[in-house]
């Protein structure tokens, strides 16, 4: 039975202003987690924030049972989280949700992440044994870039974009992706980058764009969605996301049916 866990924090450090990386020890989570899943954290004891906060699993070490999450200090909950120190206990439930679809058939994969959306993609790259792994990651500016080294380490090619051009490609990561994909499309296999599947996580408009590009190129595409959650385990139906279904649509649960969905399911404007 999955449990409400109290796990020990190993470190909790600020990577760039406002973005933190937190490691904890959890045999339970580390041995079960699959890329795309999340943990749901009670950021403070008591009533100051009551709902748990979902954070994607960013990296796992199955040998020493460490799990890493990374988060932006956004509001009350993550502010409490940011105050935690090594040795403190983390009250969490997880791993929760479904995971990215992986298959031996995918010889070449790409991940496209924007901002804090990059974190679950790192875990995916780390775990994925396929032949070629491309990483497109976008940040607002040079000062917000996190985990670049980790992405370098576990991808075969890394493409970086910043909105203000302070590092890498200037513009949206989707523009960078488009440039590469379309180039390839018209002039044939240039960089050896032909993807069997693209996994995306980031702001909704970004993921929409990625899916559109992937569709155009006939590449499979999965996206990882966000929604405000109640229970995180599939019971309350708070975390609705609109998915197409037999010409009609209905609401699925981001926490249980997701957070990962096939691009074609998702109603990106819903």
């Amino acid at each position: 039975m999955p449990l409400v866990l109290k796990e020990e924090i190993i470190f909790n450090k600020e990577l760039v202003p406002g973005i933190f990386e937190l490691a904890f020890i959890s045999e339970y989570v580390s041995q079960r987690a699959k890329p795309g899943q999340f943990v749901n954290i009670k950021c403070c004891d008591g009533l100051d924030t009551i709902l748990r906060r979902p954070l994607s699993i960013c990296s796992v070490n199955r040998k020493n049972n460490t799990v890493i999450v990374a988060y932006r200090e956004t509001g009350k909950g993550t502010r409490y989280l940011a105050r935690k120190k090594a040795g403190d206990k983390l009250d969490l439930i997880g791993p929760l949700g479904n995971w990215f679809h992986v298959s031996d058939e995918y010889k070449s994969i790409a991940v496209v992440g924007g901002g804090i959306g990059v974190f679950p993609l790192l875990f995916l790259l780390q775990q994925n044994p396929c032949a070629f792994k491309g990483a497109y990651i976008g940040f607002e500016s040079n000062t917000c870039i996190v985990m670049e080294k980790e992405f370098l380490h576990c991808s075969d090619k890394i493409m970086l974009a910043t909105n203000d051009g302070s590092k890498g490609f200037k513009g949206f990561v989707t523009d960078l992706l488009a440039l590469n994909l379309l180039q390839e499309g018209s002039k044939g296999k240039i960089n050896g980058e032909k993807y069997d599947i693209i996994y995306a996580c980031g702001p909704m408009p970004m993921m929409k764009k990625v899916f559109e590009l992937a569709s155009k190129m006939g590449i499979k595409c999965q996206v990882s969605l966000e929604q405000r959650m109640g229970c995180g385990i599939g019971a309350c139906l708070a975390c609705a996301c609109k998915v197409k279904h037999d010409g009609d649509w209905h609401y699925k649960r981001v926490c249980k049916d997701g957070p990962v969905f096939w691009g074609e399911e998702v109603d990106f404007d819903g």
Binding site: L3, L47, L51, I233, G234, Y251
Partner: protein
């Protein structure tokens, strides 16, 4: 404050500032009778999962043995499947949450075919919570469910989150009288009427339900509220308004439970912000013979079990032999 004989666990803690140490079973020490009877149904203990916060039990079955619960009130059911409201459907507020799920559910037939068989195997009482837009819909729901093996039917006349709203039935004496009377004619199961707190005088509403055939009252449903994202200058909920629940509402719920228990003779099920055994005891002292736990299930999926354990601990510490030793035993100052 004697320790409860027959128990095998251990309790070290404080009662009224004094440190006490006593042995106490982690489940029910043999000689405490936790059973409560509501409208002829026997609940093995007074802790019931509140409607809409427990789905149809499946997800929680991954965390706890559902057989430990007194009962489960399932997600509100409508005649046809409902898609529910646009997201975001939830917002956190001080010590509470606002929700506007909008009664997303598979419809009563979907429930009977796909959910009830699983639930029936769980060895706990099953309460079907129903909601409609017309009296006829409620009656039809009650009739259909009367043909199943649910243990009781809970009339949700107070859901604030749907436009065609059932709230209208719940906030006037006339509305509640009419719907209770009609549904009673079709309902062959014990009928629990669940009250909305969004009224001037909840006692008169409760009495109207009693007079018109309710077997029990449950309260409170959520309180209408709104939270605004000041940066977007829009409500956080896509539905704009929602229902407030969680610890924040507890003092309001306890007062209303007290008022209703003072007014009606039928059993009262209390809820609103319960997150511990002591919270539950407040409602029981105020006159409820059972409690429902809602929002706290989101925070701790084993909340119902923890509340039950807290009740048992309390009964043990004060050497009570039965839940009924406490029901309505509040002494006013």
């Amino acid at each position: 404050m004697a320790s409860s004989p027959g128990s095998n666990g251990k309790y070290n803690g404080k009662v009224n500032g004094k440190i006490v140490s006593l042995n106490l079973g982690s489940t029910n020490p043999g000689n405490i009778n936790l059973e409560v009877e509501i409208a002829g149904i026997k609940f093995k203990n007074p802790v019931i999962a509140a409607s809409g916060t427990y789905g149809f039990g499946r997800e929680f079955a991954e965390f706890i043995d559902l057989g430990r619960l007194g009962g489960i009130a399932v997600k509100g059911l409508t005649l046809k499947p409902r898609k529910g409201n646009r997201p975001p459907r939830i917002a956190e507020t001080p010590a509470g949450i606002l929700n506007s799920i909008g009664l997303q559910n598979p419809g009563v037939e979907g429930f009977i075919n796909d959910e009830l068989p699983f639930l029936r195997k769980c060895n706990t009482a099953i309460i079907a919570n129903i909601a409609g837009s017309t009296v006829e819909e409620y009656c039809e729901l009650a009739e259909i469910l009367s043909g199943t093996d649910v243990d009781a039917i809970e009339l949700n006349v107070s859901c604030p989150n749907v436009k065609e709203g059932c709230l209208a039935f719940g906030n006037t004496v006339k509305g509640i009288s009419g719907i209770t009377r009609e549904v009673r004619r079709y309902c062959k199961k014990p009928l629990i009427v669940k009250l909305t707190p969004n009224v001037t005088d909840i006692s008169e509403i409760a009495r109207a339900a009693e007079i018109n055939g309710a077997d029990a009252i449950s309260l409170i449903n959520t309180i209408t509220g709104m939270a605004i994202d000041v940066h977007k200058k829009k409500p956080i909920l896509a539905n704009n308004f929602g229902g407030l629940s969680g610890p924040a509402v507890k003092p309001i719920a306890v007062k209303m439970t007290y008022d209703v228990a003072q007014t009606v003779k039928i059993p009262v099920i209390g809820m609103g912000g319960i997150s511990s055994g002591e919270d539950a005891i407040e409602f029981i002292l105020a006159g409820a013979c059972a409690v429902m736990v809602g929002t706290w299930n989101f925070v701790y999926p084993d909340a119902c079990v923890k509340v039950l354990e807290g009740i048992i601990k309390y009964l043990g510490i004060y050497n009570h032999k039965s839940v009924y030793d406490l029901v309505g035993k509040l002494e006013l100052n």
